[in-house]
C-alpha cells in the first residue's frame, strides 16, 4: 500500500486546466485537467500514443500548449524552456538518459546544473550526502560507462535532487530496471514524497502503479479517460480505462515442450570491439522446434550483440562457424541471406531503420526480406507477386493501412510491427528470432502478435524471444533464461520459475553453465 499523502499545504503544487496541443494530423492533448498536491505521487497512465509524453513535455517546458493554463503553487505560469522549469523546481528523468559515458558521475552532474553550483570536486560531498539520504548508493568519481542502467538512472535522479526540487517527473522509470532495482527505486520515491516533493510517475505497468501511487490520471486518445485511486481499482478496471475495451486483456496460453533442437549455440564467446559495448561469454542455448524460449534481461547486457550474431549481421570466422548451428549445420560464418535460406526469420528490435526501410512502400518492405521466396526471377522483381504478398500480410495480420504502396514510416508502431512479423511468419520459418516484439505496441496489437507467435509455435517452428517485458515472457514462453553482462543463465521451464528467480538471473545470480547443471525441463 502507498504511504498516505503528507498534508503540508492545501494549494496544489501543480494544476493544469484545459491543456490542448495539436500536431499536424492529430490532437495529442485535448482539454486535459490535472492536479497534483504537494507530496503526492501521481500516476499518469495510458497506452502508447495516449498523449502522456506530450503532456509531460508541456509541463517541463519542452513544448508549448496551444491553449489552456498551467498553475504552479497558485500562480499562473507560462514555461518557455526546460531551464525555466528547473528554476521553478521541476525535474525530469527521461526514459533515455542524457549522460556522457566518458565522464564521471560528478562531472556529468556539474555539467547539468551549471557552473554556479561549483566544480565537480566541490559537488562530490553533496552528491554523497544526497545519495545516502535517499538510499541510492552511488560513487561520484566513477565513470558513467562503467555503471549499470539502474545506476545511471540514479545519476539522473540525483541530478534532479541536487537542486531544490518540488516536482519530479519520471518517464517509465522501471522499464529499464530489474524487479529488485525497481523496489529500491520505490523506497527512494516514497522518502521523497514524505519530504513533500510531488512525483508524476508515468507508466503502463498496473501493478507498480497500484503499489506506489496515491492517485492516477488515465489518458486515452489525448483525453482524460478518468481519475482514480489505483489501490482501490482492479487491473481490469484500470485496463478498461486505458484501452476502453477489456476484451484484449491477458489470456493464458498452454505451455508445451518442444521436439528436436533446431537452434544450437555452444560455447559462444565474442569480444566486442566497442569499448563500451558488451562482450558475450560462453553462451549455451538450445531452442527446440515447437517451443518458445524467452530471454529476459536489462538492456545493454548483450542482447543486441547476441541478436546480431544470430541474424548474421556480425558473422564469425569459418573456424568459429560451429558455435551456432541450425539443425546440426554450422551457420555462424554465413551471411544473413544464407541463414534465411536455411529457415531463419528475424524481427529486430528497431522497426523503422532496421526491420523496415522508412521511405519505401510496404510492398518494397515485403520484398526486403522475402526476396528468396520466388519474388525475383532473372534478376528482375516480380511486382505482381510482391504486391500479392504485401496484400496477404496486410489482410492476414490486420495491418491498418490505406494500401500496400504506403511508406512504412507513416504506419503506427503497432501496425508496422504486425506487418514485419507477418512478413517473417508468411515465409514459413523454421526458426524465428524476435527482439522486443511488443515494445511500444498497444494492447490490441500486442495480443495479435502474441497469438501469431503461439500459432507459429504450434505449427512447429522454433521461436526465440528476447524481451525486457517480464510479463510478456511469462505469458508466452515455454522456457526462460536471462542475460546479464554477456552471460546467459541456464534455461528453465516457465511453469517452474518464479518472477523473483528471473530477477535474480537478471542481476547475475547464477553460476553453473548449462552443461554442468542437472538437466532442466
Amino acid at each position: 500500500m502507498p504511504n498516505p499523502v503528507p498534508i503540508l499545504d492545501p494549494t496544489p503544487r501543480l494544476q493544469l486546466r484545459n491543456i490542448s496541443k495539436r500536431y499536424p494530423g492529430c490532437l495529442a492533448n485535448d482539454a486535459i485537467d490535472l492536479s497534483i498536491a504537494p507530496g503526492e505521487i501521481h500516476a499518469l497512465l495510458g497506452e502508447n500514443g495516449a498523449g502522456k509524453s506530450t503532456l509531460m513535455k508541456i509541463i517541463y517546458g519542452v513544448t508549448h500548449a496551444d491553449s489552456g493554463e498551467m498553475i504552479w503553487q497558485g500562480q499562473r505560469v507560462t514555461l518557455r524552456n526546460p531551464a525555466q522549469a528547473r528554476g521553478l523546481g521541476i525535474g525530469m528523468v527521461f526514459q533515455h538518459f542524457s549522460l556522457f559515458e566518458t565522464l564521471s558521475v560528478a562531472q556529468n552532474i556539474a555539467l547539468a546544473i551549471g557552473a554556479a553550483a561549483g566544480t565537480p570536486k566541490q559537488l562530490e560531498p553533496k552528491i554523497r550526502e544526497v545519495s545516502r539520504r535517499y538510499g541510492m548508493a552511488l560513487e561520484p568519481e566513477r565513470l558513467v560507462h562503467s555503471l549499470s542502467i539502474g545506476e545511471r538512472q540514479r545519476v539522473e535522479i540525483i541530478r534532479c535532487l541536487m537542486q531544490d526540487i518540488r516536482l519530479l517527473i519520471l518517464d517509465e522509470p522501471t522499464s529499464v530496471l530489474t524487479p529488485q532495482e525497481a523496489d529500491d527505486l520505490f523506497v527512494t520515491l516514497r522518502r521523497l514524497s514524505a519530504e513533500g516533493c510531488s512525483i508524476l510517475f508515468i507508466s503502463h505497468k498496473l501493478g507498480e502503479v497500484r503499489a506506489l501511487c496515491h492517485s492516477a490520471t488515465v489518458l486515452r486518445g489525448g483525453r482524460v479517460a478518468g481519475h482514480c485511486v489505483p489501490a482501490e481499482c482492479s487491473d481490469r478496471q484500470l485496463a478498461q480505462l486505458m484501452v476502453g475495451d477489456a476484451a484484449a486483456l491477458i489470456t493464458d496460453y498452454p505451455k508445451v515442450t518442444g521436439a528436436n533442437a533446431f537452434l544450437n549455440v555452444t560455447g559462444l564467446s565474442w569480444h566486442n570491439p566497442d569499448p563500451f559495448g558488451c562482450s558475450l561469454k560462453d553462451i549455451e542455448l538450445e531452442v527446440r522446434s515447437g517451443e518458445i524460449v524467452g530471454i529476459a534481461g536489462v538492456a545493454g547486457n548483450g542482447q543486441d550483440e547476441l541478436l546480431a550474431l544470430l541474424s548474421g549481421e556480425v558473422p564469425l570466422s569459418r573456424n568459429d562457424g560451429a558455435t551456432i548451428s541450425f539443425a546440426g549445420q554450422p551457420v555462424a560464418h554465413l551471411r544473413p541471406d544464407a541463414r534465411r535460406k536455411l529457415g531463419l526469420a528475424f524481427v529486430p528490435a528497431e522497426r523503422l531503420g532496421h526491420g523496415a526501410v522508412p521511405d519505401l512502400s510496404l510492398a518494397d518492405n515485403a520484398l526486403l526480406t522475402a526476396f528468396q521466396q520466388g519474388l525475383v526471377s532473372n534478376g528482375l522483381i516480380q511486382r505482381g507477386k510482391v504486391e500479392a504478398l504485401a496484400e496477404e500480410i496486410i489482410r492476414r495480420f490486420g495491418v491498418k493501412t490505406p494500401d500496400s504502396q504506403t511508406p512504412a514510416r507513416s504506419l503506427s508502431d503497432g501496425n508496422l510491427q504486425k506487418f514485419i512479423l507477418g512478413r517473417e511468419i508468411l515465409q514459413q520459418p523454421k526458426l524465428l528470432v524476435a527482439a522486443h516484439p511488443t515494445w511500444g505496441v498497444d494492447v490490441g496489437a500486442a495480443a495479435t502478435i502474441h497469438r501469431a507467435l503461439i500459432a507459429l509455435r504450434d505449427a512447429g517452428a522454433a521461436i526465440l524471444v528476447i524481451s525486457e517485458d517480464l510479463d510478456e515472457l511469462f505469458q508466452i514462453s515455454d522456457r526462460l533464461g536471462a542475460l546479464c553482462s554477456g552471460r546467459l543463465s541456464p534455461l528453465k521451464a516457465t511453469v517452474d520459475t518464479r518472477l523473483i528467480d528471473v530477477g535474480g538471473w537478471m542481476a547475475g545470480q547464477f553460476d553453473a553453465p548449462q552443461s554442468l547443471a542437472p538437466a532442466t525441463v
Binding site: 499562473r76 518557455r80 523546481g89 548474421g312 541471406d337 541463414r339 526486403l368 526476396f371 534478376g379 522483381i381
Partner: protein
C-alpha cells in the same frame, strides 16, 4: 506567422507534376522582370534564350550534341546517388575516358576496320570505370570519403590530360599546338544527318537510358542499391553486400562518364584537345538531381540544361547580353525548380490573422 509549411505526411502526386510547371512560370516571370530592369525587351530576350536556338533542325541537332554527354554522365550519377554514393568525379571520369580513347585512336589512325571505333569506345568506357574504381577502392578499403577522393581525382585527370596533349599525344605535324592528330575516319562516330553534328552517340544514350531505367526501377540489384542508400542497417540486416554494391554503382557511373568523354573526342571534336569538356561532369550533378534521379526526368533536365547553355551563348552573340546575366537566369531557373519541390512534401498554409500568443509570465524562483 502569416505563411507556414505543414508536412503532408506523404508525397503529393499532383505536386510531383505541378512543381516543374510552377517553377517555369516563376522563372519566366522573374526573368522578364530582370530583363526589363536592364532595358531589354523581355519577350524578345526569352525568345532568343529559349526558343530561337531550337527553331531549326540544325539547332535541334546542336541541342542533342550538347545534351548527350550531360545525359550520359547524369544517368551514371543517378545510379551512384541512389546508393547515396556521392560521386562528384564524373568530370574526371569523362576526361579520362576521352584521354584513353584518344591515346588508342592516334595510334591506329590508319586502321580501316570498323572494329577500330568499337575498340576505342570500349577503352574509353573502361578507363572511365577504372577511374571511378579508384574512388570505390579508396572507399571500401580505407573508408575514405568518396566526395573528397572523387573531386581530387578530377584535378589529377585534368592535369594528366593537359600533360598528354602537351607531350606524348601532341600532333607532330601540328605546329606545336596542344592538340592530338585528327583521328582516322574509321575511328569517328558516324553522323546521323547530313547537316548538323549529331552522331550515333545518341543511340548509346538511349540505350543507357533504358538500361539504367530497368536497373533502377525493375531489377533486384537496383532495389538493393536503393535500400543501401536509404537505410544501411536494413541492407546489412538482410545481407545485401555493401562493398559489392558500392563498387558496382561507381563502376557504372564512371563507365557512362567515360563513354561520354570518348564520344566527345570521336564525335564532334575528332581529336584530343585540352577543352574536351566545358564542365559537363559538374553540370550532370545538377541535372541528376533536377531529374530527381529518375532516368526519364534526367532526360528532360539534360535537354533543359543543354538549351540553357546554347541559349546563353546565342543571347551573348545576338543581343549582346553579358554572360553574367544569362548565368543569373540559369541559376534562377535551377533555384525555382528545387524550391518548388518543397511543395511535394509540405503544404503551404496561409493564416490571414496573426495568432495571439499567450503573454509570457516570468516567475522569480525567490518569489515562491
Amino acid at each position: 506567422m502569416l505563411l507556414s509549411l505543414e508536412p503532408r505526411g506523404q508525397q503529393s502526386r499532383l505536386m510531383l507534376w505541378c512543381s516543374p510547371l510552377l517553377a517555369a512560370v516563376l522563372t519566366l516571370g522573374c526573368g522578364s522582370l530582370l530583363f526589363i530592369a536592364l532595358g531589354h525587351d523581355p519577350i524578345l530576350t526569352l525568345h532568343t534564350l529559349l526558343i530561337a536556338p531550337i527553331s531549326d533542325l540544325y539547332g535541334v541537332s546542336e541541342l542533342l550534341v550538347k545534351a548527350l554527354p550531360i545525359l550520359l554522365c547524369a544517368l551514371g550519377l543517378a545510379v551512384a546517388y541512389q546508393a547515396r554514393i556521392w560521386n562528384i568525379g564524373a568530370e574526371g571520369q569523362l576526361l579520362l575516358g576521352a584521354l584513353a580513347g584518344s591515346a588508342l585512336a592516334v595510334n591506329i589512325i590508319d586502321l580501316q576496320s570498323r572494329w577500330a571505333l568499337v575498340l576505342i569506345l570500349l577503352v574509353g568506357t573502361l578507363a572511365g570505370a577504372a577511374w571511378a574504381g579508384l574512388t570505390a577502392w579508396l572507399r571500401t578499403r580505407f573508408n575514405a570519403n568518396e566526395i573528397l577522393t572523387s573531386i581530387m581525382l578530377n584535378y589529377i585527370a585534368l592535369n594528366l590530360l593537359l600533360f598528354c596533349v602537351h607531350g606524348p599525344l601532341k600532333d607532330p605535324a601540328g605546329f606545336n599546338f596542344p592538340e592530338s592528330a585528327m583521328f582516322g575516319d574509321a575511328s569517328r562516330l558516324p553522323l546521323l544527318m547530313e547537316d548538323g553534328r549529331v552522331h550515333v552517340g545518341v543511340y548509346f544514350a538511349l540505350l543507357a537510358l533504358v538500361a539504367v531505367w530497368v536497373l533502377l526501377q525493375k531489377s533486384f540489384i537496383g532495389f538493393q542499391i536503393k535500400v543501401l542508400g536509404l537505410d544501411k542497417r536494413a541492407a546489412r540486416f538482410v545481407g545485401f553486400r555493401e562493398k559489392r554494391l558500392i563498387w558496382l554503382s561507381l563502376l557504372i557511373s564512371g563507365g557512362l562518364a567515360g563513354l561520354a568523354g570518348v564520344c566527345e573526342v570521336t564525335g564532334p571534336i575528332g581529336q584530343l584537345v585540352p577543352q574536351v569538356s566545358p564542365g559537363y561532369g559538374y553540370a550532370a550533378i545538377t541535372v541528376a538531381f533536377l531529374g530527381r534521379l529518375n532516368p526519364i526526368g534526367i532526360l528532360f533536365s539534360s535537354l533543359l540544361m543543354a538549351l540553357l547553355y546554347i541559349g546563353g551563348e546565342s543571347a551573348q552573340m545576338s543581343m549582346n547580353l553579358p554572360q553574367a546575366i544569362t548565368q543569373l537566369f540559369q541559376g534562377m531557373m535551377l533555384f525555382f525548380l528545387l524550391a518548388s519541390d518543397v511543395l511535394i512534401l509540405y503544404r503551404p498554409r496561409l493564416n490571414l490573422r496573426w495568432s495571439r500568443r499567450a503573454p509570457a509570465t516570468v516567475v522569480h524562483a525567490g518569489a515562491l
